[in-house]
């Protein structure tokens, strides 16, 4: 199995970057860890970025097309080639979910173009946050597929590498001199040991499995949503940091006669999400909107698409101003009958 020393990662990524952008988790000036291009600063290997790489494949705001004054329509999907480095398992599984969303009923050309031009290099997770629950969902902390390359931080200064696709294989071959070999048996043992040690680090204070079962069977008490609605300030931040939130709205802007149609991330906690032109809203009560969010992710996605609409990344709790999110939902779901 291939192994790369930490000091060789940047030269490797720079060589991959000759004909494409390379994005990785990098701290910005305010101390927030975000996916940025590697020339912006040193790569951070130890923490999960605040916002997943969803924002690269499915930007917060994206121009779909322009209508010129003579009626000509110009639509240009983004064909930039990119390497996305350091994706955590939960976020890689979220990309699988997003792939399904953007191809299920019709193929979304804009997403498809970005997606097929992206090389996904994941990093197995060795330090889960206290709100992570990928271990229950089977979406992490390590992947056995759905990556081009997966790195395992088996020692302080080096990573073992698993190959998940031909594109991944070529990305190694191009800089062959930067890699070393570790015998497969030894490498597997190291990975298994790392995985076992990581699984011990997950918080066990909440029974996520039971919460998920109750949600799948539609056995969540309405009181759960009432209680949650008291604690939630409806800022919408959870949908912003969620790697599987795919709802968007489409708007048009006109400037100097040119019409631009854009799409922007949407948020199911807002009243306007389903408010009708008449003013009627099928989800007028805030608690009903909260129910919609959790039912969508935990009840209807499993039923309709055989995937849970949550990959257990824990961000909706960590970044919430009242520290609720999926964590609090599971806590309430398993304690309120």
């Amino acid at each position: 199995m291939k192994l790369i020393r930490k000091q060789n990662i940047l030269p490797w990524l720079q060589s991959l970057g000759q004909d494409r952008e390379v994005w990785a988790p990098i701290l910005n000036g305010n101390g927030d860890l975000l996916f940025q291009q590697i020339h912006e600063g040193p790569i951070c290997y130890d923490l999960k970025p605040m916002i997943s790489c969803r924002r690269i494949l499915f930007p917060q705001e994206e121009k779909l097309f322009e209508v010129q004054t003579d009626g000509t329509i110009i639509a240009k999907p983004d064909t930039t080639k990119r390497v996305l480095f350091g994706i955590r398992s939960c976020d890689a599984k979220a990309i699988v979910f997003t792939d399904m969303f953007f191809s299920k009923n019709f193929q979304d050309a804009y997403y498809e173009s970005r997606r097929k031009n992206a090389l996904l290099i994941t990093l197995s997770c060795h330090d889960p946050m206290p709100t992570c629950w990928c271990n229950t969902l089977g979406t992490g902390p390590f992947l056995d597929k759905d990556f081009d390359l997966q790195l395992y931080p088996v020692q302080e200064d080096a990573f073992l590498i698993a190959i998940g696709s031909d594109a991944g294989k070529s990305a190694l071959e191009a800089s062959a001199s930067l890699f070393e070999e570790m015998p497969d048996l030894q490498a597997k043992a190291r990975i298994e040991a790392l995985k076992d040690a990581t699984l011990l680090k997950f918080a066990k204070n909440i029974d996520f499995a039971q919460a998920l079962e109750l949600a799948k069977e539609r056995k969540i008490s309405p009181k759960v949503y009432d209680k949650y609605s008291e604690e939630c300030l409806a800022c919408g931040g959870c949908a912003f940091v969620c790697p599987t939130c795919t709802c968007f709205d489409v708007r048009e802007f006109t400037e100097t006669g040119i019409i631009t149609r854009c799409r922007q991330w949407e948020n199911c906690f807002f009243e306007g999400f389903t408010k009708e032109a008449s003013g009627h809203n099928p989800r007028r009560r805030f608690a009903d909107r909260i129910a919609r969010r959790f039912e969508h992710k935990l009840t209807f996605e499993p039923k309709n698409n055989h995937m849970v609409g949550c990959t257990g990344c824990g961000r909706c709790t960590i970044y919430c101003i009242t520290k609720i999110g999926m964590h609090r939902f599971a806590e309430l779901a398993t304690t309120i009958k």
């Binding site: 008291e230 604690e231 708007r251 101003i321 009242t322």
Partner: protein, 540 residues
Amino acid sequence: MAGLVATFGSGAMTNSINEFQNAECIFVIGSNTTEQHPEIGARIIEAAKKGAKIIVCDARSIRLVKYAAVHIKQRNGTDIALLNGIMNVIIQEDLYDKQFVAERTENFDALKTLVAKYTPEYVSKITGVPADDIIKAARIYATHKKSMIAYAMGITQHICGVDNVKTVANLAMLTGHVGMESTGVNPLRGQNNVQGACDMGGLPNVFTGYQKVTDEPVCQKFEKAWGVTGIPRKVGKTVTDMLAMAHKGELKALYIMGENPMMSDPDTKHVEDALKHLELLIVQDIFPNETTALAHVVLPGCTFAEKDGTFSNTERRVSRVRKAIEPIGESRQDWQIICDLAQRLGYPMKYSSWADILREINELTPSYAGITPERLETGFGIQWPCPNKDHPGTPYLHKGKFTKGLGTFVPCEHIEPNEVPDAEYPLTLTTGRVYWHYHTGSMTRRTNLLERECNQNFVEIHPDTAKSLNVRNGETVIVETRRGSIEIPTKITDEIVPGLIFVPFHFTEAKVNLLTNPAHDPVGKIPEYKVCAARIRKKG
């Protein structure tokens, strides 16, 4: 400001935002905290979940009521009576902090004498609050060690706003809830930089850092630094005064920056008349608004995203704002506009950047001396007072000693609102804000998502009041006061008490400030936005 200066010697939030989550008791009066200060509201909820006792004093059933050990629905404009009643109980039941009162304060006897008549039964008659609730709130507040008070415009926007604040401060001193972590008197400021505007002398009586314009050595210090002589030693005028003078023709020219008095000041008709009397009205703002429409000259300022500098937030924290994009169109940073104007008027203001200005502030302002541009480049800002470059800043004030030495009890009597309901105008109108919009709406009403959440004004009415008026939910009605009338849809809700109606002030289509009473506090000059007499008529 004036109320806390008189009692403590310093007019700002005494403690810090993060301290709310560790409080044992939080007394919220005149603040819809989760809607208007969600970061603080979130911490109050966190504290409540950890077992803190929450006391909410508000005639509306705001969200925090769900966490409240006591919900006091005092009649609007009776806060002094309520707080005096609470102090009466604390003294009667011997729950006050005798050591603190003896060592750290003065004038206790006057307070004791004054509040003696404010028995729970007497207060109950004035406020409409059951005596038991007053007793309960008093016991909870006094018997916890870490008790914090938070208030906002519900306390200040009254003809007795300054006395309201003094009374809040009296309560905190009585129980020794000042000068420690997770205690204090915490006025929550409504804007990102309104604390900064006050700190920088945006008041008629002070230079930066509350150095008085009547203080000769202070004036000389500024004259020397600015290379001028003859800085006026007289206290200037407040907005309320200026508009009155403009109306009388005594004020000829007015330069307004970042304010929209045609939406935000009471009795809009009077404001309009006053502004139209001016020979010159200059308005500097980021968007055209109701006030720029009357201006002879509009100077386009730029938004937060287009400027460099600092903001000073509600917890006295000075932090950097960094320019993300270049100013759009002809807009410019406010300080550059002011410098150019000064130059044209014959005084060269030679600053080359925001950092230059902050360095001058460091030199001339003791409480900001250590908040240098270099220190603000990293971290999350510094809380004043910060007297030198090695000082870490001050998370809470009045530790061991009040800014003015001894804290002074300033006992105050209850004052009835300027205009109370009568046969002609039987309802009480109060005004405020909604979660989705900010102030006069210059920014938020241009934001499509916020506008989608809330795009029209409403008047909140209790079902009983609605029934007696024979109006339905969503029906457009006419709300009238002695100053004017607006057409507005109803929102019938039991989250408000009968007889009280509530209208937000963000909406130009139904400007509630056409209705509000310009009567104001004699010292603070803040108008009584929170109480006036009104009536509702069916349309047509």
